[in-house]
């Protein structure tokens, strides 16, 4: 384990009140990461969508019906207590995926994966996808592929990498300039830059000068209600998906609307009212 005080913790906050569900993030992600597509993409059950947009509704009849869209990349879980034991990493029998303690990004060697799909079963967010076929692009389109991302072959699992190749490029620039600092705008994911509504904000959760840190205000102490949960947002509008599992995702969501925040987890009757005003350790002081 690389123990570095200056370790990054890259994360994302998505404003669900700004998201229009246009799908630009999905398209840019597929183009950026050489994700293949099928002739008939209407059959979604075996599509590869590193970034997938879900539709949420409040379930009320007209005229109270409200809709929201929830883009879901890989959540880059830190695991229980944020020690790096992500659900997918801890089950991989091939050590083909691991947790980067220097970046907080769950990384993978595609050629090392042998396709057992344990990680897909373990992931509570359905963020991992299996390649049922070798990738094929229409003739001529292979010239548009990114040389910075290796295409995956049949029989391996893949997922969002927070556009790690962009981090690699930013770091090469930093090495050339002989600096340790990677500026906030030097490393941004494809979906962040493509979002026309500016709903996605990406940055280093450990760096107080980054916008994401200022919005999320991650709690440095474990959650008093559940010690497995670390980095809970102190912003009352911000939540994470299935936060109580203790997977500690680095993707945060933000909404003014209470019904949207409530859909971030499966609450039993009466549970929501107990936790809805709980925003980290400080809220109990």
């Amino acid at each position: 384990m690389i123990q570095d005080k200056k370790a990054h913790k890259f994360g994302m906050v998505i404003d669900l009140d700004k998201c229009t569900g246009c799908g630009s993030c999905t398209v840019s992600c597929m183009a950026e990461n050489n994700i293949p597509f099928k002739e008939d993409e209407s059959d979604k059950k075996d599509s590869l969508t590193w970034m997938r947009v879900y539709k949420l509704t409040n379930g009320k009849p007209f005229p109270e019906t409200q809709t929201a869209y929830l883009p879901r990349p890989c959540q880059h879980c830190g695991g229980k207590g944020d020690h790096g034991h992500s659900p997918c990493v801890s089950v991989c029998p091939a050590t083909a995926t691991d947790y980067g303690y220097d970046t907080g990004i769950v990384s993978q060697i595609y050629t090392r994966c042998f396709g057992c799909r344990y990680c897909m079963a373990a992931c509570p967010y359905h963020a991992r996808y299996f390649n049922w076929w070798d990738p094929v692009w229409p003739e001529g389109m292979e010239k548009y592929l990114s040389p910075n991302v290796s295409p995956r072959m049949r029989g391996v699992v893949e997922k969002c990498s927070f556009c790690y190749h962009r981090y690699q490029l930013a770091r090469e620039q930093a090495y050339f300039d002989e600096t340790d600092e990677i500026p906030e705008d030097a490393y941004q994911t494809a979906c962040t830059t493509a979002c026309p509504a500016g709903a996605i904000i990406f940055g280093d959760l450990n760096n107080p000068s980054h916008k994401i840190h200022q919005i999320v205000k991650p709690d440095p102490h474990p959650d008093p209600l559940n010690h497995d949960v670390v980095g809970k947002s102190r912003n009352p509008k911000v939540f994470r998906l299935l936060e109580r599992l203790g997977t500690n995702p680095k993707v945060y969501y933000m909404s003014e609307r209470e019904w949207v925040r409530k859909l971030g987890d499966s609450y039993l009757e009466g549970e929501w009212d107990k936790v809805k005003n709980h925003h980290g350790a400080a809220s109990h002081d």
């Binding site: 980067g100 991302v149 770091r171 050339f176 002989e178």
Partner: protein
């Protein structure tokens, strides 16, 4: 030793003696068998040792011979042709355009190789389709900037004394994987003396572990 064990040991030895005494021809059979086994083993071993690498790798000659020693003498260092770009990426093998800093479509020397270069590539404005000995598989990410700038390594540490070579050796390609033989190395058992003898993931990991205390995470060297 217990009594029972004693008995069985003696019993079995007696049995062996008896059968040998009864049928002395068996010895010749056994001798022939041993000779046959040794011969067959040698044939299999040698064909695996000598023939298999020849079958596994196909050889390609470079488009024309390149004299590194001469160019280092003229330009002074490696960086004149193989350099880091301003964004930190590595230029790799120079494009014909950078050769034109010195060369023209009229050869400067008298070698046949330069004549080929001038006539076929400079005059026709084409890139030379070099075979790259050090080319890694597509899934590998390697940052020259990290090693040159941050770790302060020089070219020789990994690439060896290629700057002193006067001719291009044939490029050997693994027929199964399509990778350069330099990745696995010349030694079929994978034994290496120098860092440039092989460039496998393990070779990277050994050095990373020594120098940084950690092999690194997947995406540090993969993409």
């Amino acid at each position: 030793m217990s009594e029972i064990e004693n008995k069985t040991e003696h019993g079995s030895m007696d049995g062996a003696k008896e059968s040998a005494a009864e049928d002395p021809k068996n010895d010749t059979g056994l001798g022939l068998g041993v000779i046959f086994f040794i011969l067959a083993f040698l044939i299999c071993f040698l064909s695996g040792w000598l023939l298999f690498p020849k079958l596994l790798y196909s050889k390609h000659e470079q488009p024309f011979n390149f004299d590194h020693a001469l160019h280092v003498q003229e330009t002074g260092d490696c960086e004149s042709c193989h350099f880091l770009r301003e964004d930190g990426t590595f230029s790799g093998i120079p494009k014909t355009e950078s050769c034109l800093d010195c060369h023209t479509d009229e050869p400067m020397g008298e070698t046949e190789d330069e004549a080929i270069f001038a006539a076929e590539y400079v005059a026709k404005q084409r890139e030379v389709p070099w075979y790259v000995y050090a080319k890694q598989p597509d899934c590998v990410y390697f940052s020259h900037a990290a090693h040159i700038k941050a770790a302060g390594m020089d070219c020789v540490t990994c690439h060896g004394h290629i700057g002193e070579s006067t001719s291009s050796r044939p490029y050997e390609e693994n027929r199964l994987t399509g990778y350069s033989r330099d990745i696995w190395g010349n030694n079929i058992w994978g034994i290496t003396k120098n860092p440039w003898d092989s460039m496998k993931m393990d070779d990277c990991a050994v050095c990373h572990e020594e120098e940084t205390g950690h092999k690194g995470y997947c995406f540090q060297c993969h993409k």
